[in-house]
């Protein structure tokens, strides 16, 4: 995504109007624009055309790795590295290893999805640029970076005003 370059931001007070503006932006050929809202808006993903997050694949692979690690580690330590006879149980006592394998599956899956989330969202970010402090409280915004396809400051300003934006401003850095 566009970093450290200017663009145009339109601020709205209403969820529906923001979604409508996002739909108009997409229709007019813009591709890199984004919406900023204090809470997730479900119609927005479709309006902007955001693809489904790939996080479930990460979670699945992470869980799989956790399972294999859990199995390999319990079997290797209990049956190969230092086999100890505990109560006459077999060295590879799979049923007894299941709780460990299960917990490691969950742990690896959760931590890998968390890391992947941070990676996809480029978090943590120190001192992120801010368009308006109310965007995390009760206002909504559409932001269009200046290198987007068919970016025209005047035309955009006109369009956002028509769509009911309360404020349209140029943003130097976002």
């Amino acid at each position: 995504m566009a970093q450290n370059q200017g663009g145009m931001a339109a601020i709205f007070l209403d969820e529906q109007k923001t979604v409508a503006a996002a739909i108009r932006c997409r229709e007019s050929g813009l591709k890199k624009f984004d919406a900023i809202s204090p809470y997730p808006i479900h119609a927005m993903e479709e309006a902007i055309g955001i693809k489904r997050s790939p996080l479930p694949y990460v979670a699945f692979v992470g869980g799989l790795v956790g399972m294999v690690v859990g199995l390999a580690f319990t079997i290797w330590t209990s049956a190969y590295d230092w086999p100890i006879n505990v109560g006459g149980k077999p060295f590879v006592s799979l049923p007894a290893f299941i709780p460990i394998v299960f917990e490691l599956t969950i742990l690896f899956s959760a931590l890998s999805s968390l890391s992947a989330f941070a990676w996809f969202c480029r978090l943590p970010k120190i001192d992120p640029p801010m368009i308006d402090p109310d965007l995390s409280s009760h206002k909504f915004a559409i932001y269009v970076p200046s290198d987007d396809h068919g970016y025209d400051a005047n035309k955009l300003e006109q369009m956002f005003k028509e769509l009911g934006a309360v404020e349209v401003k140029k943003v130097a850095v976002y």
């Binding site: 900023i36 204090p38 955001i50 997050s53 209990s78 505990v86 992120p128 801010m130």
Partner: protein, 453 residues
Amino acid sequence: MILKRKQLVLGDKTLKDISDDICAPVESFPGKGWVIMFLGAITLLLFYLMILGYIIAKGMGLLGVNHPNGWGTMIITFVFWIGIGHAGTLISAVLFLFRQKWRTSVARTAEAMTVFAVMTAGLFPLLHTGRPWLDLWLFPYPNQRGPLWVNFRSPLLWDVFAVSTYATVSICFWYIGMVPDFATIKDRAKNKVRRMIYGALSLGWRGTARNWSHYEMLYLLLAGLSTPLVLSVHTIVSFDFAVATLPGWHTTIFPPYFVAGAIFSGFAMVVTLMTLVRIGFPAFKDYITIDHMEVMNKIIMTTGLLVGYAYASEFFIAWYSGNIYERYVFINRAFGPYGWSYWIMIACNTIIPQIFWFRRFRRSIPVMFVVSIFVNIGMWFERYVITITSLHRDFLPSSWGNYAWSFYDAAVLFGSFGLFLTLFLLYLRVFPAVSIAEVKPVLNVGRDDGGHH
């Protein structure tokens, strides 16, 4: 007749009102009530730390644990606190998967309760080892003794993995839920220090639609992972008992019975805390409404019946099995030297919550507060009954003996509340106690103009 949905947020709030209301405790100086409670809690915590220090220095012999009661207050109270944690995950994860919109306003605080309860619980087994400075031996790490590995066939080790995974995933889930709200507090901050602290906590969250899309997916995944996790944790805790061959412990009913009991006790603790939060922060009454409390009371009643069923079924099986040791343990449990604790458990857990069949009592704050306290007491006694009555008389009468309850047993039990309450009271002042970003989308639920949500 059309059943109308109840409003989840009362008082015709706007989006800004929600941010203002929920951030208010974080942004203002605490009132007298909070300060008094905090001083009480922290005094109890200091007392607890002193007692724990003394127990570490002197040894576990200060507690009543001795042959044949090798497990005592520490294990009982560990299971008690871990169980309490379960309701938080149930509200935040399981109800999320079931798309229960009412959960939004209680989820944050319930999840906080989970994290603090697990922290409080986690100390007990670590101290119960008697040599807590060697607790690192619980984890399989390459060492110079062979390397000598831990015994992966032991339920106690399963517990190490279950509880530490549960603590880790719960903290992640709780923290991720708070990230957007930290950003809200940061953006509202007029004070530089607050801005810096909450800016760091918010990880630089900006709330772009692309980030929200990943965020919601992560939240769903963590909820999906926490759900089997929470069921596994108390199942594994019950294995600590059930895998042993001791009559009274060695039963297959333990996993579901423990999970139901955990949810039961946890919801009681949520109700206890929520009634207090509603008194302490009157503005939250619009978010944590009487309808929320009523739903939780229904869950308490239902899980109370489940637990009652488990008690009855245990007795039936003890008789039906034809095993004389099993039969003796259960008769002894109800009519032996610890019969009083058994009947406290029965009264608090299965009889008293039945008052919630009446709508009037389900919706009465004083009634639910008192009932929730009784359930908390009853559920502590459940673990007392399971642990002590099974251990104190097993196969050979020559090895029987009662638990030598000492001052230190009482001190660690009450002191642990000091740790929990101190953390919880600090949380109420430092973190947003209701999820701001989750309440806003349900604002219109049940409102006449926009109930299509």
